[in-house]
């Protein structure tokens, strides 16, 4: 990792809070400031955070719906082609393509493709797989899994201007504002 070409490049700014209530107030201010590429990190789920951050609904359900319909269509076509076209064989007097007999496979493939769409769609929307995250370079950030709450605004945000954003974050009432680099300096 340390041979990354972007060594030392700025990933974003981080500010730390000591309680969920302090964090919530700050989060709403960041949202109202119009930032888009930013995130909040907490040791446990904080209720109401999605609304406070102004996170809009995800497109994942539509991917899952598409996956499910693909599975349903594929299963129907596959069974129809196998049983009624490619290898016609009468089994216990049933029609060559009997819907009741085809339903279990249609159901299973719908579920399977929906699950694939949900799982891999989640990867794509989250930018995964990603072996490494710039926030891991920050020693302070380790307490995100224990007892501290963080707001991180990315340098890639169109509204991001280093000095202005730094003073804005400092005005939120957090402990510190720190720069986070793409990769460790040492």
């Amino acid at each position: 990792m340390s041979t990354n070409a972007k060594q030392g490049a700025l990933y974003g700014l981080l500010t730390e809070f000591e309680s969920p209530s302090l964090l919530m107030e700050a989060v709403e201010k960041v949202r109202d400031e119009g930032f888009k590429k930013w995130d909040v990190h907490t040791p446990f789920p904080v209720h109401g955070m999605d609304d406070a951050m102004g996170i809009r609904g995800t497109n994942l359900p539509f991917l899952v719906l598409g996956g499910g319909l693909t599975g349903l269509g594929l299963a129907t076509l596959m069974q129809w082609w196998m049983n009624a076209v490619d290898y016609k064989f009468v089994i216990s007097g049933k029609p060559l393509f009997g819907l009741p007999a085809a339903f279990p496979v249609m159901f299973e493939l719908t579920v399977l493709f929906s699950a694939f769409a949900a799982f891999f769609g989640m990867w794509i929307l989250n930018g995964l797989p990603k072996w490494y995250h710039p926030l891991f370079t920050n020693k302070r950030f380790r307490r995100a899994t224990q007892d501290r709450f963080y707001i991180v605004v990315e340098a890639a945000d169109p509204r991001f201007k280093l000095e202005e954003t730094r003073s804005f974050l400092a005005s939120l009432g957090g402990n510190v504002v720190e720069e986070v680099n793409e990769s460790p300096e040492d």
């Binding site: 209530s21 209720h47 109401g48 609904g57 719906l65 216990s92 007097g93 049933k94 007999a101």
Partner: protein, 402 residues
């Protein structure tokens, strides 16, 4: 959601108050008139109350299934130590605790058993297929079993309801622990008794037919209808100014999820029952479906596929629909009607091989439904509509879908 206040019971009305006697009087009146009209119409048929018996049975089985759904809901919530439902649980408690009234309403089914059930017909009882069943499917055993079923259901529903009401004043956590300890066994006993009761109530109309899946089939329909009824009860109370603020879209979202899930579950069970018999193609198994796929009943069956399964499934799939009061109310109404059609399709083809519908079916619906609602209202009066002493109430009030 930007105010992070936990809603308080003190901010809203949590008793039925003046609404109670009004709803009780109206629904009891509708019930009595409905039953009287059904009896009158049944008398007019001049068939020794045979048609009356089938209409009555359809509607009795329908409302019983909702109360049985409520009876299952409580122990499931206790064994899983769930908290989301606590704020609405009292409504489920009274819906189940109406069981003694259902026992009284079961009496006409027992009186007219000879008109309804195939096993009471000496000719059928003498047939080869009945030789091993005759001892079980007899008048005395039938009555004895119904006494046992209602003893179990009344016992458990009153135990859950009374204990919860007691907790309102004592706030004793030990009462919750007690209910949790009893819930696992309660679920087993109720599952077995419900399966056996569904065989007696609906499957034995045609005593030669059998399905091991029938208990689950009846339960699944009742459980999804129960969630639809709970949704409408809660929405109705909120529209009358009660339970406002404390029951949030988050709670309705969960009722929506339950309706969605058990709509699919019902479809899954109904199809599994059908497919196994379709595939094996053995006459003694398929004749039940044969009757129901001819002479107009087949069209009802086709309607069922869409009305009870496909359309509510598609309609409730989105998060938006589950959180919208109007859409949720629409699908709740829809599911109630669709599940009623389902039971009609199970019961009525045994009365008439070609499609039939009569005003009696509607009057019996309002007759039994009116008395059932009056009973529930009576039980809900006097106590809080919210289990205010439950240790998980605060969790429930804070509940949010992740």
């Amino acid at each position: 959601m930007s105010d992070h206040q936990v809603p308080s019971l003190e901010d809203t009305e949590t008793t039925l108050g003046s609404l109670g006697p009004r709803v009780f009087a109206v629904s009891a009146l509708v019930g009595v008139i409905g039953l009287a009209a059904t009896i009158g119409l049944g008398l007019g048929e001049g068939d020794g109350f045979r048609h009356f018996g089938f209409s009555y049975l359809t509607n009795f089985a329908f409302f019983l299934s909702i109360s049985l759904g409520a009876l299952f809901f409580m122990p499931i919530m206790y064994v899983t130590r769930a908290s989301w439902n606590v704020v609405m649980r009292r409504l489920a408690e009274v819906t189940a605790a109406v069981m003694p009234l259902m026992a009284v309403l079961a009496i006409p089914v027992i009186i007219f058993a000879g008109q309804i059930y195939g096993w009471a017909d000496p000719e059928v009882a003498a047939s080869h297929g009945m030789s091993h069943k005759a001892a079980y499917l007899s008048q005395n055993m039938f009555i004895l079993r119904w006494v046992i079923y209602f003893a179990i259901w009344t016992g458990y529903s009153w135990f859950f309801w009374k204990t919860s009401v007691k907790q309102d004043s004592t706030r004793d956590v030990a009462l919750t622990r007690r209910l949790e300890n009893y819930s696992g066994f309660a679920l087993m006993v109720c599952a077995l008794s419900l399966a056996a009761a569904s065989f007696d109530l609906l499957m034995s109309i045609d005593p030669l037919w059998f399905s091991t899946m029938f208990g689950v089939y009846y339960w699944a329909g009742g459980f999804v209808t129960f969630f639809a009824v709970m949704t409408l009860f809660t929405l109705g109370l909120q529209n009358s100014g009660r339970m406002r603020g404390i029951v949030s879209p988050e709670h309705f979202h969960d009722y929506g999820k339950a309706m969605f899930a058990f709509t699919f579950f019902w479809g899954y069970i109904a199809f599994s029952q059908y497919m196994l018999y379709w595939y094996a193609n053995i006459p003694e198994e398929t004749h039940w479906f044969l009757v129901r796929s001819q002479n107009g009943w087949g069209e009802v069956g086709l309607i069922l596929i869409f009305a009870t399964f496909a359309l509510p499934f598609a309609g409730l799939i989105s998060r938006y629909a589950k959180r919208s009061r109007k859409m949720l109310a629409f699908w709740a109404f829809w599911i109630i009607i669709a599940q009623w059609i389902n039971l009609y399709w199970v019961v009525m083809p045994q009365f008439s091989e070609s499609f039939i519908i009569s005003p009696m079916d509607v009057t019996a619906f309002f007759g039994i439904g009116g008395l059932w609602l009056a009973g529930i209202t009576k039980l809900a009066m006097g106590n809080s509509l919210v289990p205010s002493g439950d240790p998980r109430l605060e969790d429930s009030l804070r509940f949010e879908n992740a």
